[in-house]
């Protein structure tokens, strides 16, 4: 047994998923024991009898976790084969199937909705015109002559239709910025209302006017005017329902990112859950710092170490629930120095970051003063000729490249900035006469997701998970989750408290400060 353990203990912590180890011990292995070398030297014979159900998430990321620990990570990690990580292959399949079905289903639904609305709109717009024109076409000779009042009504119909057209264009014909899973309740309601309304008008028109060939043209024109008036009122209703009602803030939502706990608060009005999710996502891209998976490696490796420390021996083989309790009790009792490690590690990291930052700031300042010198020289030589900012950027970039690269590596941002993007930003800053600090603002701390290249976003497709129907309105205490592949945003809705402000009369002398003197008078 011990020889088998010795062979186990020879390889380093990095490659504990390498092919060699897998071949030797494929069945019944506990995946979480990264410090293998220590196990061999312990006095207890580590015979693994029963493994707790392996958590693929932890095992998955522990292999990716090695990246952050060394600057030269690309050279020493071993390749992850497909067969050893079941969870990755499942995720891949899920991703592929989702892509397939989404691209077909969504477009159909969107276009169907749009065409229905467009057809209805056109019909509604042409109706009053039809009402006015049909009698002229069908029984022109019988009609009474149109007097001044009647012709005045023509003008009013024309202008009202124009206003309706402009209003509808402003309200409805906007670029849709998102796709929502369910039908928009209020819009559907309005469409149905308009349809019923116009239908009833046509019915009345068909029965009373067309069939009986009414000759009172003024009455017909007034009927058409009343239709247009009613349409304008429906448009007003649409504005109130769709736009105004959600402007007054009624709820405060707290959005927390599941991976690192970054949270924000937003104020919303009466919205449905899907629209609230939309608002949250729009604000996510500009408010939350970009999701950086390499920043989470430290906590994951700590978690792995916690789990790896204790081994459970199930001697009797039947008490499964007692296992977890025993583990927790043992973990609580054991003297753990991981908090010490965390403190020193964090202090060390901060010190390193500050040092590198100081070097970077100095290097960039020197580079920028060099530009100023170059510009001064150029102006002396050939006044009126401006130095190309791109050339200037390329000239000074090498002097600060190393400091910048080291700083980005320390703060784990190196994958977000390519050399080309840095050069572009540098020439942009030079063109706009920015100071070194303004140039560095983008690199010193991670910014919102929108700032970076689309490939680095990690969050392009979202799923809304909610216990209540997504078209129902927000209520106090509703919780819904917006999931994307790598992380999720948990949204908690709270109602803004009802504030009661009342008026009270207070004698001005009693609550203001009165300066009392102590004067002395001689008599």
């Amino acid at each position: 047994m011990s020889t088998a353990m010795d062979t186990e203990s020879t390889y380093s912590g990095y490659s504990h998923y390498s092919g060699h180890s897998k071949k030797a011990h494929r069945q019944g292995r506990d995946r979480h024991k990264s410090p293998r070398s220590k196990d061999g030297s312990r006095s207890e014979k580590s015979v693994t009898i029963q493994t707790p159900p392996a958590e693929p998430l932890l095992g998955n990321d522990a292999s990716r976790a090695e990246e952050g620990q060394d600057d030269n990570w690309g050279e020493t990690t071993t390749a992850i084969t497909g067969t050893s990580e079941h969870s990755i292959s499942q995720e891949d399949i899920a991703r592929i199937s989702k892509d397939l079905e989404d691209s077909v289903g969504l477009d159909c639904k969107r276009y169907l909705g749009l065409t229905v609305a467009a057809v209805l709109g056109l019909l509604v717009f042409l109706t009053p015109i039809a009402f006015i024109l049909l009698p002229q076409i069908l029984w022109r000779d019988d009609l009474e002559p149109c007097g001044t009042v009647c012709e005045g009504l023509f003008i009013s119909v024309a202008f009202k239709l124009l206003i309706l057209l402009i209003g509808t264009w402003a309200l409805f014909f906007r670029q849709p910025k998102a796709d929502l899973p369910r039908v928009f309740v209020f819009r559907a309601l309005l469409l149905v209302l308009i349809f019923l309304f116009v239908f009833s008008y046509w019915l009345f028109y068909g029965v009373r006017i067309l069939d009986s060939k009414d000759t009172n043209y003024q009455g017909i024109v007034q009927y058409a005017v009343s239709l247009v008036d009613a349409l304008l009122f429906i448009h007003y209703l649409a504005i109130v329902l769709l736009e105004l009602r959600q402007l007054q803030p009624m709820f405060t939502v707290k959005v927390v990112r599941s991976t690192d706990g970054e949270s924000r608060y937003y104020s919303l009005g009466h919205l449905s859950i899907q629209r609230a999710a939309l608002v949250v996502l729009e604000n996510y891209y500009k408010d939350f710092t970009v999701y950086n998976p390499t920043l989470l490696t430290a906590s994951k490796s700590r978690a792995a170490k916690h789990m790896a420390g204790l081994k459970v021996y199930n001697v009797d083989g039947n008490n499964a629930s007692g296992q977890s309790r025993a583990m927790i009790a043992a973990a609580a009792r054991r003297r753990d120095s991981s908090h010490n490690e965390l403190y020193y590690e964090e202090a060390d990291h901060e010190r390193r970051v500050k040092k590198r930052r100081a070097r970077l700031v100095v290097a960039v300042e020197e580079a920028f003063t060099h530009i100023k010198r170059l510009q001064a020289e150029e102006q002396q030589k050939a006044p009126g000729e401006m130095m190309d900012p791109r050339e200037a950027a390329q000239a000074i970039f090498p002097s600060m490249a190393r400091a910048l690269q080291k700083y980005l590596r320390t703060t784990r941002q190196q994958q977000y900035h390519s050399m080309e993007s840095i050069l572009q930003h540098l020439s942009f800053c030079i063109t706009n006469n920015m100071t070194p600090k303004a140039f560095l603002e983008r690199y010193l701390s991670p910014g919102p997701t929108l700032q970076y290249d689309r490939d680095r976003w990690f969050s392009k497709q979202w799923t809304l998970v909610s216990e209540e129907a997504v078209t129902s309105g927000l209520q106090d205490g509703v919780v819904f989750v917006l999931k994307c592949l790598d992380f999720s945003l948990v949204v908690n809705v709270k109602k803004i408290p009802f504030i009661k402000l009342s008026e009270e009369f207070i004698d001005p002398k009693s609550h203001k400060f009165v300066l009392r003197l102590q004067s002395e008078t001689s008599v």
Binding site: R516, L517, Q518, E520, S522, V523
Partner: protein
């Protein structure tokens, strides 16, 4: 041995003082200064025992003046002037009552605190 206990306590006297005003040029002066009043801050009064007392107190007495001659002392609280009450007046009203041009004599009722020591002998056994 018998224990001697010395007690000291404040006793308030009321006194009537008659001051004859002295003519100095166009003015009639009394020769002392007053402080206090209901519009003043009573906590700044150094002479009062009760720091919420808003009465009129004598803050200074000029040497050789009519007030000193009449026996007014510093720290006296003026209760009445010629029959007018001075315990609930403003500083300016007090000044006016003391400096009426047609009065040559003012009769004040003042309260004075003086320290009295009492020596008591007691037997302790």
């Amino acid at each position: 041995p018998p224990v001697v206990v010395i007690l000291s306590y404040f006793v308030s006297f009321q006194q009537r003082i008659e001051i004859h005003k002295l003519r100095q040029g166009d003015n009639l002066i009394l020769g002392f200064s007053i402080g206090g009043g209901i519009d003043q801050d009573p906590t700044q009064n150094p002479f009062s025992e009760d720091k919420t007392d808003k009465g009129i107190y004598v803050t200074r007495v000029t040497e050789g003046g009519p007030a000193e001659v009449a026996g007014l002392q510093i720290g006296d609280k003026i209760m009445q002037v010629n029959g007018w009450d001075m315990t609930m007046v403003t500083h300016d009203q007090a000044r006016k009552r003391l400096t009426k041009r047609n009065e040559e004599v003012v009769r004040l009722l003042v309260t004075r605190q003086s320290l009295q020591k009492a020596v008591q002998q007691s037997m302790m056994s």
